[in-house]
Symmetry: C2
Subunit: 283 residues, 2 copies
């Protein structure tokens, strides 16, 4: 594991529990100490230790995107021949090609995206059950081998993700632009657009639900937004166009139009229930 | 209780449990039957029963806004002199004045708003604990007496709301336009703005959180939106302006601007936590 935050830490817990020998590199000494003391990893270091790097069959990178590239540039020559590299980065587009282009020919990078986050940061919040409810997406390019794709899928199975799927980088980023990045844009906008005092005294669950993700790691997310700029701007435009339609219907007191949009919203939301909508219980 | 849906039913459960004799009027026979069989009410009818109406010291209306007005017009002459009327309607503005103006002089209407909903409808989902976590707002006008305001507050106490407060109708509606109606507008827009197939296979908790309230009762909410049109349009405009700023920063790759907005969002969201943000546990 390179990077042992909440995601890297949760990977480490799951893999260790499944019987794998997990070694970790993280620049934070407290993180490594915590991971060792709690049996999350077998070995750990705060340096890019050449021995640990050279012994690994599989390296999983859970780092900020730009650090991931720097790390590969600085350390790839210490990798074992045949090593497989994968990651947890939330945007794939250019990054996948860049890493694949710069990487040694006798190692292989296969991209993956565990769709799980959480507003809490650090290994302290890692959990071996973190992914039981989440999606895992393998994001291969035509450069990837069947063997690496299969290895990458197996990680998803070992960590017991609820669903494992596969998408090309472009489609992955379009989808992420919508379901993840647009939602974060909306949450932070809602949180900052009205600074009336004491609003918190009156908020109910709706407002709390819509702004849970408004607590956002600015270093990571600004980078993710900018690395997926075009897809995200496209999704923001789709949202704005639909929002303006609603605004206009309201201005014109077009009750039937508003009701129609509400009915479409309700019908479509039913598709997104984790479980089937409950039946009305028998009286 | 006039109207015995999820909110009316939860009121009835709480008041019955506290020892009050609760009688209910609801047009749906299955609702009345369920409420009687489950001990939620002492007596119930599907008609505007003159005897039940004439005996009530306190009437609580949990109806669609326009039905509330019709009900008062049709039935107010059967009320007991001195009866206090209250409600659960989500928008107050014109409604409060209209009802107070049309109501007999020897009865008093004091508005209230329990800020609790839920996407499930009907008494089947009512719960005596429904309000333990919620806000209750008493919304008096200058026509209201101290006695009625105090009675209305007591209902909030009996039902064990987490917080009881008081706002004039105009301020109440401004606040509701933001924390409740704008959030519903956003959720339904997000739900309808992109109809890519199979998106549900890739959604995580963020998207689910932001669209939970996209399942929306079109009859009630279209009415609530339109009865608070000006306040809601104002809030939509504040949101759109802030959202456009973010769009522009993204277009210009203004990383520092985006990070600044993220930090403001994170700081402000902390105010809205139900509990204090957790400390990082000791290593």
């Amino acid at each position: 594991m390179v990077g042992l935050g909440i995601i890297g830490g949760s990977y480490a817990r799951g893999l260790t529990k499944a019987g794998y020998t997990v070694k970790a590199i993280d620049t934070d000494p407290a993180t490594i100490q915590y991971a060792l003391e709690n049996g999350i990893i077998a070995e750990g270091t705060t340096e890019a230790d050449r021995k640990i790097i050279g012994e690994a069959d599989l390296l999983i990178f859970a780092l900020y995107p730009h650090i991931f590239k720097e790390w590969i540039a600085a350390n790839q020559w210490f990798l074992k021949a045949g090593a497989i590299l994968t990651d947890v980065t939330g945007v794939k587009g250019r990054l996948v090609g860049e890493i694949q282009d710069m990487l040694r020919d006798d190692c292989e990078y296969i991209a993956a995206h565990p769709m799980a986050g959480g507003e809490k940061l650090g290994i302290w919040y890692s959990d071996e059950k973190k992914f039981y409810d989440a999606n895992y997406i393998v994001v291969p390019t035509e450069k990837n081998t069947e063997n690496a794709i299969e290895t990458c899928r197996q990680i998803g199975e070992i960590l017991q993700f609820a669903r494992i799927s596969q998408l090309p980088p472009y489609e992955h980023d379009e989808m992420i632009g919508f379901v993840s990045q647009l939602t974060h844009c909306i949450a932070m906008t809602l949180m900052t657009c009205n600074d009336t005092e004491n609003l918190e005294d009156f908020t109910g669950d709706s407002f709390r639900d819509l702004t849970r993700i408004a607590r956002i790691d600015d270093v990571m997310w600004s980078e993710l937004f900018l690395s997926n700029k075009d897809a995200l701007l496209h999704q923001m435009k789709l949202f704005t166009m639909e929002f303006s339609k609603l605004e206009r219907m309201l201005m014109e007191a077009d009750k039937e139009g508003i009701r129609d949009m509400m009915r479409r919203s309700t019908a479509r939301r039913a598709l997104f229930e984790k479980e089937k909508p409950e039946e009305k219980p028998e009286a």
